[in-house]
């Protein structure tokens, strides 16, 4: 939800919206009490709809990474359970050939909404950390040097957070196959393509059928 008191300028605009909102109710009330009540209900419903619709649509401005030294390539890999999958490792190695690659692996600390809102994140972060460490070991065994971090429980937010500090040239998102992937169901890959101004590669890793 958009906070109308985030800046002084927005709060100032909110004052005018409140005046308009109140003036319409008062005008309706002068006609009839029930008209005033109807205006109040209609306005409130309209605002509620607008706030929630805008809240879903609200996207940060897409940002491109700053220039790096010649020959350097920064690859941001976002994956959860599939981070150690062979298809993903192949893709990373293919993309790092012939360049001085820097790979950052971000594992979102997936959590239930209730636990997220109550800040009960310790278990989720611990589990994500264990998956990350196992994945980094797999990568090293595969000849890929990477570093990693645990990210936000929302994969898109985790990507955005990593982009601020890592400034990648490209993004690789690894998911389960479509029939088993929650991320695909939630539109994480499509959302990343819409939100971030950099090449996004989607890698499907089928852990149940590695071949």
């Amino acid at each position: 939800m958009h906070n109308p008191f985030r800046t002084e300028e927005e709060a100032f605009k909110f004052v005018w919206l409140t005046i308009l909102y109140s003036a319409l109710i008062v005008a309706g009330s002068f006609i009839n009490v029930w008209v005033g009540l109807g205006v109040f209900v209609a306005e409130t419903a309209l605002i509620a709809w607008w706030v929630f619709a805008r809240g879903r649509r609200e996207r940060p401005i897409p940002h491109a990474p700053p220039p790096h030294p010649e020959g350097e390539r920064r690859i941001l890999v976002v994956a959860n359970e599939t981070v150690g999958g062979g298809a993903l490792l192949d893709e990373i190695r293919r993309r790092s050939e012939g360049v001085n690659e820097h790979v950052l692996v971000v594992v979102p600390a997936l959590n239930s909404p209730l636990r997220t809102w109550t800040s009960d994140e310790d278990g989720a972060r611990e589990a994500a950390q264990q998956r990350l460490e196992a994945s980094l070991s797999s990568m090293r065994a595969f000849g890929i040097e990477a570093r990693g971090e645990v990210g936000d429980s929302d994969p898109l937010q985790a990507i955005e957070d990593a982009m601020r500090t890592f400034a990648p040239d490209e993004l690789i998102i690894s998911t389960h196959p479509p029939e088993r992937s929650h991320w695909l169901e939630r539109g994480v890959v499509a959302g990343a393509r819409e939100r971030f101004a950099l090449p996004v590669t989607h890698v499907v890793v089928d852990l149940q059928n590695p071949n």
């Binding site: 008191f5 709060a11 409140t18 109140s22 310790d122 985790a158």
Partner: protein
């Protein structure tokens, strides 16, 4: 003794149990920055505070169900709601939002004279609002003990008056800082936060005015 000392972090700073001697590092994402959570909590608590007063007001109005509203007082005369004076006061407060916004825009443009003038004008307008309200209280002819309507009327308008007073204290501090050369186009968080509070006070007054004086 040893166990207690270690539990409080005074024990030796090495060994396998070190992780238990210190709190874990704080984790938070940019999605829920502490400042945003803070302002949300503040606004939430204010809405609940004003909401409780509005609930009492509407409860009283619905339960009494008297026509016309407001009801007749103990002396047989209908309570007066000085809507015109309050309207003038509303205009004063809305104007103070303008001057506050002017002060904020001025500091962003490195216009110190504009910042100082905006702050002084905002304080003067806020003081005018508060003084007008106090004078009006004296002129009304009824008090909090005269029926539940009077109690809720003074409760709501008085609660808002307290917020204006707190706002004026904040504005005065901001103004002193502005005259002492604080704030710049890059660093004016104090002005920004004070301005947000002042606009919030303005928004609440509009709701109070419409509810108590007009409807």
């Amino acid at each position: 003794m040893s166990a207690a000392a270690e539990a409080h972090g005074h024990g030796p700073a090495h060994g396998p149990g070190d992780a238990n001697l210190h709190p874990p590092p704080i984790h938070y994402s940019s999605r829920i920055a502490p400042t945003i959570v803070g302002i949300f909590l503040f606004i939430g608590s204010e809405i609940m505070l004003f909401g409780s007063f509005f609930t009492v007001y509407f409860f009283d109005r619905v339960v009494n169900n008297t026509h016309p509203w407001p009801p007749v007082g103990p002396n047989g005369v209908q309570f007066e709601r000085p809507w015109f004076v309050a309207l003038v006061n509303t205009c004063i407060l809305v104007t103070s939002s303008f001057t506050m916004h002017w002060a904020t825009v001025s500091v962003k443009r490195n216009n110190r004279a504009g910042l100082q003038a905006g702050m002084v004008l905002t304080i003067l307008l806020g003081l005018t609002f508060l003084l007008t309200q106090v004078i009006e209280y004296h002129r009304l002819g009824y008090n909090t003990a005269d029926t539940s309507f009077a109690a809720t009327f003074f409760g709501l308008t008085g609660l808002h008056g307290c917020h204006v007073f707190i706002g004026l204290v904040i504005l005065t501090v901001m103004c002193i800082r502005a005259f002492r050369g604080h704030f710049s186009p890059e660093h004016h968080h104090g002005i920004e936060v004070g301005g947000i509070y002042w606009h919030f006070v303005d928004v609440m007054w509009i709701v109070v005015y419409v509810t108590v004086y007009i409807l």
